[in-house]
């Protein structure tokens, strides 16, 4: 058990170090950063804010991780968020109950995922193009649902999902925490995770060895659609309305970035949902940190780009080779120690 725990923490080490470094840097320029206080029965503070604001990207990153592990990519998640937000708003304003609304919205997200999955798994279209179709058309569809306006609603139940709190934590944080753990358990406590990695490493070989490749591929895209639907509900509930133009705009890029920072290769194979969640939190920490530290907001994107390039260069194959070389060099300098083992 301790061995498993150790290998797990070793896997997450680079992300944890990066996150700690960023948080520490922010706390230098913004002294009250780590302060937490309880007001009106919930925790307040910059840290909680990061977890709360990061909820949509964390949720998208969970689904994106599984899709990327199959050597795919889902560009449509931002547009699906907009569609689902629009569906939720129009359903609640037309008098459906909250449970019905949630059911319809989550169903819509899964349906969008099914569409992507069928294009990729059955029609055998490259994932980046297959999901581009929905990315281009999605915002148009969302506007069709909202009829071009920003649909506002004031149903307390739906709003609670975006800004309520439970057990001192904001509800979005609880939602992604529970959902993330659930997905991680499902893929890791069963053979599903391994089969998904097998598809990512070599789709043809896994099909030949009896893996139900099309079913798993479609399921992966459906999971991504479901994540986008939950993220869309949270984003809509947060602003008490559905904005077809701006909901989830460019979040697909943030989600892909979160997965890459989390160390999952875009070429498929080994994946870690926890690392992707950490990646999403890192991105949100950068965003919040830049805001808090009082840099002129014009510099946000440049700093973000610089940090991303730095993390990516560290992960690139040549850099990794250099690290391995250095480690080998150090190991060869202590031959006696190695023999003793």
């Amino acid at each position: 058990m301790t061995a498993i725990l150790r290998s797990y923490s070793l896997r997450l080490l680079p992300q944890l170090i990066a996150l700690a470094a960023i948080l520490l840097m922010v706390s230098f320029v913004f002294p009250g950063f780590f302060r937490l206080e309880i007001q009106n029965g919930r925790l307040y503070g910059s840290l909680i804010d990061i977890f709360n604001r990061g909820a949509p990207v964390v949720l998208l990153a969970i689904g994106m991780t599984v899709v990327i592990a199959t050597r795919g990519i889902d560009l449509s998640v931002g547009a699906v968020m907009a569609i689902c937000g629009a569906v939720a708003a129009s359903s609640i304003t037309s008098g459906h109950s909250l449970a019905m609304t949630l059911l319809i919205t989550l169903g819509t997200g899964i349906l969008c995922g099914l569409w992507n999955g069928v294009l990729v798994a059955i029609l055998d279209i490259q994932p980046i193009i297959a999901t581009l179709v929905l990315m281009v058309a999605g915002r148009g569809i969302a506007q069709l649902v909202t009829e071009g306006a920003i649909l506002t609603f004031n149903d307390p139940g739906l709003i609670f999902l975006g800004s309520g709190s439970f057990a001192w934590l904001p509800l979005p944080v609880i939602i992604w925490l529970v959902f993330g753990i659930l997905v991680a358990l499902i893929v890791r406590k069963t053979a599903l995770g391994m089969l998904i990695e097998a598809i990512g490493v070599n789709r043809q070989a896994s099909t030949l060895s009896g893996v139900l490749t099309p079913v798993l591929l479609i399921a992966a895209y459906m999971l991504s659609g479901l994540c986008a639907a939950i993220a869309g509900i949270i984003a809509a509930a947060d602003i008490k309305g559905a904005d077809a133009n701006n909901a989830g705009l460019w979040l697909e890029l943030d989600a892909i970035l979160a997965v890459v920072i989390g160390g999952t290769s875009l070429l498929g194979g080994r994946f870690s949902i926890a690392a992707s969640v950490l990646g999403a939190i890192i991105i949100q920490s950068i965003n919040t940190g830049i805001l808090l530290s009082g840099f002129p907001p014009e510099f946000n994107l440049i700093i973000k780009a610089a940090i991303i390039v730095f993390i990516l260069v560290l992960q690139s194959p040549p850099a990794r080779n250099a690290f391995t070389f250095l480690a080998l060099l150090r190991a060869s300098r202590k031959p006696t120690e190695r023999q003793a083992r």
Partner: protein, 322 residues
């Protein structure tokens, strides 16, 4: 017919058919005025799409072009407002920066072996960020030289005008076609799209070609930024968001395979015209909402991808029987 020409032929057939449908409903679409405007309104997109065609032919992707267009526009506006530099010199500076920017991205992609998707995504953030740093306001360009440039046009019979930027787009497409099919660099790009390993074995200088492809895409994005600033007479850091998507869509509708190695620059031109035609039709109709543009283009994208799949399938089974 050679199956390699099938996607291009299908694109042209669809364009002619949809144009005929539009003309049947609104005969005025046939007028040279509408055609001239079609070229002018899509000039910046077309020029950027030529660069995107080369990138996609090589099997890569460039997400940074929209940001580079915005950066170029802001750069020109700031330089022209605060210094006495002549616009032509400013143009040269902007093109140089954009080309270097693309070349650096190409070098990172090649030497650090990172996916083009992520590298150009970081480039997209960086270019947009640099535009923000230069100015967050929309700056009008009032230089008299801009007025002169905008006044240049070739008058067509029927009152239509091919403006300077519309003509420039046609010129860029012409040069793009020549580069793709008549130069060593062009064949290297196609070879790279067929597979890096095979290209290397054939003696293609992979590193140099990759850097040149992204430099070319940067150069054309810069040129597109200049055209965009002529078109809008302003520089704004939030302009041209999502142009990279429109360019990718035009390339795919134009019959280029996103896997690389197969396609034509001329097809991209038709792809641009089809997108412009949809927009023109919606403007003519007046009652259709603008979001139908996106849905229609998405649908078109889907049809073309299916068609390409079908063609690849058919040509493969033919090869098997032969």
């Amino acid at each position: 017919m050679n199956p390699k020409y099938l996607p291009l032929t299908a694109t042209i057939v669809i364009f002619v058919l949809s144009y005929a449908l539009c003309v049947a409903q609104y005969p005025n679409i046939l007028s040279t005025r509408v055609i001239g405007n079609l070229l002018t309104d899509n000039a910046f997109l077309g020029i950027a799409a030529v660069g995107m065609t080369f990138v996609i032919l090589s099997g890569g992707i460039d997400l940074s072009i929209g940001s580079v267009i915005a950066f170029t526009g802001v750069f020109l506006a700031v330089v022209l407002e605060n210094t006495g530099i002549h616009p032509l010199v400013a143009f040269a500076m902007a093109l140089l920066i954009a080309t270097l920017f693309g070349a650096v991205m190409g070098a990172i992609i090649h030497y650090l072996e990172m996916p083009a998707f992520i590298v150009t995504l970081a480039g997209m953030f960086l270019a947009r960020g640099m535009a923000f740093v230069l100015s967050i306001d929309s700056i009008a360009i009032k230089h008299p030289f801009y007025g002169t440039l905008k006044g240049l046009y070739y008058k067509l019979p029927g009152g239509g005008r091919i403006t300077l930027i519309g003509g420039l787009m046609l010129l860029v497409f012409g040069i793009g076609i020549l580069i793709a099919h008549r130069t060593r660099f062009g064949t290297d790009v196609y070879a790279l799209g067929g597979g890096t390993a095979t290209a290397k074995l054939m003696g293609v200088p992979v590193g140099r070609t990759t850097i040149m492809i992204y430099a070319l895409s940067g150069l054309l994005a810069g040129l597109s930024g200049i055209v965009f600033s002529l078109y809008t007479s302003a520089g704004y850091s939030l302009a041209a968001v999502g142009v990279e998507l429109d360019a990718i869509t035009a390339v795919v509708i134009g019959g280029t395979l996103l896997t690389g190695g197969s396609g034509f620059v001329a097809g991209t031109f038709i792809g641009i015209l089809i997108q412009g035609l949809i927009q023109t039709y919606i403007t003519f109709d007046g009652s259709l909402s603008s979001w139908w543009t996106k849905i229609l283009i998405g649908l078109l994208l889907f049809v073309f991808i299916l068609m390409q799949k079908g063609i690849v399938y058919v040509s493969r089974s033919e090869r098997r029987h032969a």
